[in-house]
Symmetry: D2
Subunit: 349 residues, 4 copies
């Protein structure tokens, strides 16, 4: 039975939000045992001091990454910020399987990395080894990988909506507009004035307009699906909710294609996949449907503009957009059922 | 001095949100005296029973519209729902000035009205008389009008962002995508499950995708500015906040036009206007900046897609998007300073 | 193993919030199979039409309670409103085990019921049979019961905080003040203006001051613990969040008793219980710690007023305060591990 | 007329929330002219860079407190944190009138100050001069004062509810429990993890249980009204909303006194006051009624516990609880109408 296999888990970045959601899910995963929790700035503290909602479980105390016993682990998840992740991951024992939730190993081209993040990559050799962890599209490579680079939350929502329709040449890959909306956990746990409750609440603000770092990542994968280089519009907005992400994708239909054809292509692509569901015609996805779960819901709509369509995709940015997809990948890497530990339904209302 | 002129005001639809915000502002307007508050379903009740935040002012009790003494008024504001508004407004004394905040007199073409609202217009003769109350663009006509049809909240935000750039032929009027986001007061006070706190909170949902009734209104005015018929994409989303509205407009630049040209055209158009402010390059508008105020803020940004730009516009849907703009129009109709009673700054944080 | 036993479940009131949370948990419970979902006003609809977050599971369509095949069930959970619950429960087959989440069978005295709810009880004979389902204090009776009346959310939070200290005569049972705060799901799914997002959001209001129906229920159980009749203050407040409940209990210490003695008594009482945790000295409970989980956290504090103390208790009103505790009771009634299907950790952030 | 008198205003602490709300109100006050805005950490920046909602007004740029030309001012408001306030205020020219919104000059006894704030007072001589700025109870002293120490937000809400009933010996001053709830702006603008949107939202937490620094301030004034030293319980809770404060006061009635007697005493005390309104019997105050306004609403209720009553008081913590009351005091100090610049109604919904 699934539950009988125990895999020892380490976590890098245990004091951030993606680290926390990884721990939340790992603590109840039938095959995981948490053995190392690293969070350098909080080393020595009990986990429940940093995240009081973990007061109800037994967990190892936080340690410095440098002094952790990584050899006691079978796999490591990293919830570190980009930049820091590569510095620590390259120091890990080579026989560990690694699931990285940062941006450090997502870009396949070191030049694009350099241009996007403004620094040299400190572990360029690992870039070649890393597999892009968009589970529904790279399951086979992921199953055989040692290092998986989980997509960003926005790329996950966007690519699940767009890859099947681009790959099937149903839309023009050069005319894609992605209006993206994210809950505030997407901004992380670092202290910034604009994410204080009193400032972010009851308000709505776009950010990084025209310049967000998830755009090159989306373009990389849309480009692969299209078979050529593309640019896409990607405009993110900060929404006054903690979790949840929704992308509204505006696409131009290829000659003779109808919105229903997009829905059919998406349904066909995801019919065998447990976590992505295409909504019936007329049903509008909402983040409430997926809050706290690993599910993604996608809907297709005709546009009022002739020859265009709208694809809407929702997920929980910390689960399917981060820790949940990380575990989904881990499950494949260790030969477990893809859904192990991930079957929680949305917490609604 | 401004304060010496007293104008007697009646309100139709005093128990809805736009009615309430009209009363909030009217109660402190230097030239207004509230004499009739009509709300048929609550006739006989004190205003503070229906809106407890009015417990601090003296106000007339609510009456039925049919039995109100409209002749005691100089002007009437209507906050009724569409459909109902036309039925009651056509019965008002002809010498009253009327500012309607519903959708009933916004569409200039009775055929478009019929198609959009699925009913015959009950006061088609008044349609010809009505002036479209987008203050910044029709100030002169408004000043001479008897009946002003205030734009919807979405059209106000969208048209303020788009009319100057369309009229100056800086963008392609056939390729406009308006991704719109509104606070939940935009859905009104009628009881619906999806706007309960427990369901709308901590969530985000698109609605009326491809079918929202504000699209024809936007097209009517964009079409006038462009000098030809157009379709636009208009996709609204419900945001978990009470007030505030933001539209993200994706536009294709005309040959040789740069994003900065759009900003210049907008700045030139609104430089003399007290309530619309174009943000400096790099400054991103946010609904927090205008909450509870009559201001609108507009920003222009280069798109990552070559040849395209993004225009972002924010306002408070109940103020500049409804009751505030109604008073702005009223001020012009009665020869008062445009800003009378409307100078409140945003309530932030 | 636990997972091998399948128990067929019916749900009354499947379209309300407690019904929905029961379904959410039941769908992932290792021993439950959902076979009947009754929601009379929505009979014939798929569950996902009424609760779109259930689009990801297969579930029976909604049926009328009257026409459901209750004999296909082993146990029935009722999430019906009080009054309606008793009418339907008394019609169920006698061999079904029943877990009622309404208020109908909580009061042991039919006279108190009559006085509190203003109606005759329609199933007074079942009152005698019903066991009060505060799991931590009546586990043995619950294990042998056919009909369990789950406590209200407020009584659960209050009684878990107070019973051990009253029973041990550490506080004066005649001087207990319970200032209670609840998220808005506590008000249910019925449409009311004050729970619209636009009205309940960004605001705070007490309700039922001095008259709430949970007071007699709390007094019944405090009275049992004290060995005499008592009155308690109970003052609820509506908090702008969906889930979560916190009671701040102000108590007068018995002669010679110190706040630490209260903490010790609580720790002793709950040390063997999986879902109630007493916070260490200085740690302040917060609803964030238990959101979406079946846990309850209790803290004890010295008061600035000499001879007094403060006990603070938090839980999720829909889980430990309703559906979760219902399943906890069900687990005992069917000889399953008390924690089966209930181990989800809080969804934070 | 009121508007003709121009008073030049300086602000210390212009980059905090109380400073911002002071500026918001001052910018529209008929008699104020903003001439100095000091915010040392942001010196040199335009105000709108620190608070973008001020982009719609002309305002002086931010300067260092040390280099500001205080002689160009007639009055100074301080929104500095406690501790810092006294250091800067003692350096101001002696002929300036000063309204301090910090805690530095509220405690009349330098020993209590020392004990409460754990430091020596740096301007003890000014303590003797300062008048406690609870406008409704000290109007005469305030009118003649040079330095006014505005009460904290919690003390304002609590004292307005309690002073009249204590002074009239209607309740036992030794048995007062104040369960207080505040919006998150009450925690200020300093960066702390627990006030991030993702952590404070959808949650509720008590803080400073038994130890909050507003308790001695409340006791000082209750003691004056009672004619003897008292302790009170004061337990604050953080509520997921930006603005608003509600205190639920649990009191023991004096022999023969009824709850209606409390209401009568409060109504009598506040009948002539423009900003405090006692709710009619049965009407429950809510923070929504006063959001963004200078009003305070108070209600009285019978308790279920015999011989006890409940007094509930609401206000906006940044307005009547801080900047609004500061301006109310300023108005008295300069012989202006008490309501000048303060008549905005609540922003609801």
């Amino acid at each position: 039975m699934a539950g009988s296999k125990r895999i020892r888990i380490g976590v890098l970045g245990a004091s951030g939000y993606t680290g926390a959601d990884l721990i939340r899910l790992a603590a109840r995963h039938p095959n995981m045992e948490l053995v190392v929790l690293a969070a350098s700035s909080h080393a020595g503290k009990p986990l429940a001091e940093v995240f009081p909602h973990f007061t109800f479980i037994d967990a190892p105390a936080l340690v410095k990454a440098e002094s952790a016993d990584w050899n006691s682990c079978d796999a490591v998840f990293s919830g570190l910020p980009h930049g820091t992740a590569q510095d620590l991951i390259r120091e890990l024992p080579r026989d560990l399987k690694i699931v990285d939730m940062s941006a450090d190993f997502r870009l396949r081209d070191v030049g694009v990395y350099h241009k996007t993040y403004g620094r040299e990559h400190a572990a360029a050799d690992l870039l070649g080894e890393a597999v892009y962890g968009l589970t529904e599209h790279y399951a086979e490579e992921i199953a055989g990988a040692r290092l998986v680079a989980c997509p960003g939350c926005y790329p996950t929502a966007s690519l699940l909506a767009l890859i099947p329709v681009v790959a099937n040449k149903l839309v023009d890959p050069a005319d894609i507009i992605i209006d993206a909306k994210s809950g505030i956990t997407g901004a992380g746990r670092s202290l910034k004035q604009n994410i204080l409750f009193s400032e972010a609440g009851e308000g709505l603000s776009p950010y990084s307009v025209g310049t967000h770092r998830h755009a090159p990542e989306i373009e990389q994968e849309i480009g692969r699906a299209a078979g050529r280089d593309v640019f896409v519009n990607f405009t993110p907005h900060l929404i006054p909710m903690s979790r949840g992400e929704l992308v509204t994708c505006y696409v131009r239909l290829a000659e003779g294609v109808k919105p229903d054809d997009l829905r059919d292509a998406l349904s066909f692509a995801y019919q065998p996949r447990p976590f992505v569901k295409v909504a019936e015609k007329g049903v509008i996805p909402a983040t409430q449907n997926v809050r706290g779960s690993n599910y993604c819901q996608i809907g297709v709509f005709a546009d009022r503009l002739p020859g265009r369509a709208i694809i809407i995709s929702v997920l929980d940015n910390l689960v399917k957009g981060s820790a949940g997809q990380a575990i989904q990948n881990f499950n494949l890497m260790f030969g477990l059922p893809e859904t192990a530990g991930l079957e929680q339904l949305a917490l609604f209302p």
